[in-house]
Symmetry: C2
Subunit: 347 residues, 2 copies
DNA sequence: ATTAGCACTCTGATCGGGTGAGTGCTAAAA
DNA sequence: TTTTAGCACTCACCCGATCAGAGTGCTAAT
């Protein structure tokens, strides 16, 4: 059977209505609320066809229809047209991202929170370090003997510090020397390519301080591995509470499972595509986390200098306003790319 | 009316039973389950007295009784005896705190998580910086002109960094000089006492670089104020999901409000006593956050060198196992004090 | 091909009786 | 005087019956 123009219109109307009401929608409702130009009986026949084709389904005999995953998929791919954001909203978002840009983490957290307020859905930002590049490293004295502070500066503006064991006492002057040596060599390394060449070269220069150096190199190495390891990806949620308001989660078990997953951040990371360029809409069971079977996830990566460095996503029930969410995700990802790039170290 | 031994026994039994079952407890249940040596009729009379005295109440006529806040208060103050923790649990806790001690924040987060698993309640750690003392400060070059990295080391071992605007370009050598000057002066300042004297002195030494210095001083000042400001207190939750399992929260509105408060961390900070020495049990409306009217909060501060630097607490429904919770809070606060002190800078 | 009409289905809300745990009171027993 | 047995009474909760409303599928007329 072909899906003709009238069927498309009816499917569109069903989804539109179901998104708004969360109630199964019947033929009479459609003929009343939407100007389809045919009677409810005709709509009934068409709906029967649409059901047979798998685009909609009936929770039980004699109830209205709800869209199936296939129906949503068709809607997203062919029917909806993402509306442009209102200028006010757009400004708000860009302002939010830009204003906190000196504390990148804050910017992410605030953006997630803002978007979830605007959409009444849950939003997620993942910041991955995989592609960020080390720009500078400093070794500084710490007040415990045998330990020093290692501070790293990355090309996306991030600054991080950690305390590392080096097993012996070193004077501030020596640390300064070490810092200089490392920075001379560091140039532009990303987690993947530092390991051998550079480290060995540094090692040779300070062969006389062998044990110290091997400690340091180990630390740097470990830092790099940590950066590479997706476990250090940071996850920021906004509006997790909004899920409670969704009628499909009026159920304690579901809420508990859902919040359980929110706490286990790595599961979220697994769901967000990180290298896929462009926008991805995952509907219902298209994502593989059991708890999210009733949810859809709309994501896009943001990039620095063309390389994806994280992703932004909106999570909601399968019955969500895809148009608006898609528009929002696109806009946020682009804004993040633009603003973070403008802040990042010039190549 | 006096509360005699038998009444105490009955009150104790009521609370004991209610804590376990979450159901109003009746006279017959008591006479069956507890060896009180009197008939249910007698217990009924005593319960009637206890109600009149305000220690228990009846949700509705012809239901069993539940403890009132006054009842819990009496129980906590006079009836219960906090059991010692099992050795295994104690070891587990100390190990958890000690193992992550190089990343203090991680230690807090893990401890909160562990305790909530052990108690099936929610736990909170607040780390406040109010009393920590600045040990060292470093100014380091950043890759954006007009900005530098400021790194601070505190006596509790914390290391923090931030990027600050200084409005002009400064060479690494100059930054080194500034670092030296500041560190000479810093000695041991806590957020409260740095402000005037020290800063002005530094200022005089570098009067020729006036604008730069004023920027720097502003930044340091701001940092100190931020530290003083309770907004930067960090809050770590563990087991917030446990609240969902409590029968008193089988209600969507309550759950939503509760999680709303968990997200607004400053409200929690307001509830936790920060200077009170020793252990505090707040029952029901004794805390002033509306959402927590059905909750009790048991807290203690932990200290470094005798000064409170944060607090640990367990949050649960008023109907919670006070004995175990109190034992737990005491033990955790003491362990935190001990282990963090042992790590902190020697005075 | 479309529509009006109708019988039928299913959900969800409402109502009323029955059950069981619990109480307060009274009068008898200790 | 205190304790206990006995009894009438209260309420929350469960269960089944009933009813209205929304929706469907089918048939016959347009």
């Amino acid at each position: 059977m072909e899906i003709d123009e009238r069927k498309r219109k009816i499917l569109w109307a069903i989804i539109q209505d179901y998104i708004a009401s969360a109630e199964p929608v019947g033929s009479r409702t459609l003929s009343r609320k939407y100007d389809l130009g045919v009677s409810s009986a005709t709509i009934r026949n068409e709906m029967s066809d649409l059901e047979e084709m798998g685009y909609i389904e009936q929770p039980h005999t004699s109830s209205g229809r709800i869209p199936s995953e296939l129906g949503y998929r068709y809607y997203v791919d062919y029917l909806m047209e993402p509306p442009a954001l209102e200028q006010g909203e757009a400004d708000l978002i860009q302002h939010e991202i830009a204003s906190k840009i000196d504390e990148v983490d804050d910017a992410f957290a605030h953006t997630a929170s803002l978007i979830s307020r605007l959409t009444k859905l849950t939003s997620v930002v993942i910041s991955q370090n995989r592609h960020s590049v080390l720009k500078m490293i400093h070794f500084l004295p710490y007040h415990k003997p045998g330990q020093i502070i290692m501070l790293t500066v990355w090309d996306d503006g991030k600054v991080e510090n950690s305390v590392v064991d080096i097993g012996e006492e070193v004077s501030p002057q020596e640390l300064q020397t070490l810092t200089n040596i490392f920075n001379d060599k560091v140039g532009s390394v990303s987690p993947g390519n530092l390991k051998d060449a550079v480290l060995r070269e540094v090692h040779n220069e300070l062969i006389q301080k062998k044990s110290l150096m091997s400690h340091l190199i180990q630390s740097v190495n470990k830092l790099m591995e940590d950066q590479e390891d997706e476990a250090v990806n940071k996850v920021f949620f906004g509006g997790t509470l909004n899920m409670i308001n969704q009628p499909e989660f009026k159920n304690f078990e579901k809420i508990k499972d859902l919040f359980g997953v929110f706490e286990e951040r790595h599961k979220i990371i697994g769901l967000m595509p990180r290298n896929y360029e462009g926008l991805l809409v995952q509907i219902g069971s298209e994502n593989h986390e059991e708890v999210f079977q009733d949810c859809s996830l709309i994501t896009a990566t943001y990039k620095i200098n063309g390389l994806p460095v994280g992703s932004f996503g909106i999570l909601g029930p399968t019955r969500m306003d895809y148009g608006r969410a898609v528009a929002m995700v696109k806009f946020v990802a682009d804004s993040l790319s633009f603003i973070i790039s403008s802040k990042s170290y010039d190549p």
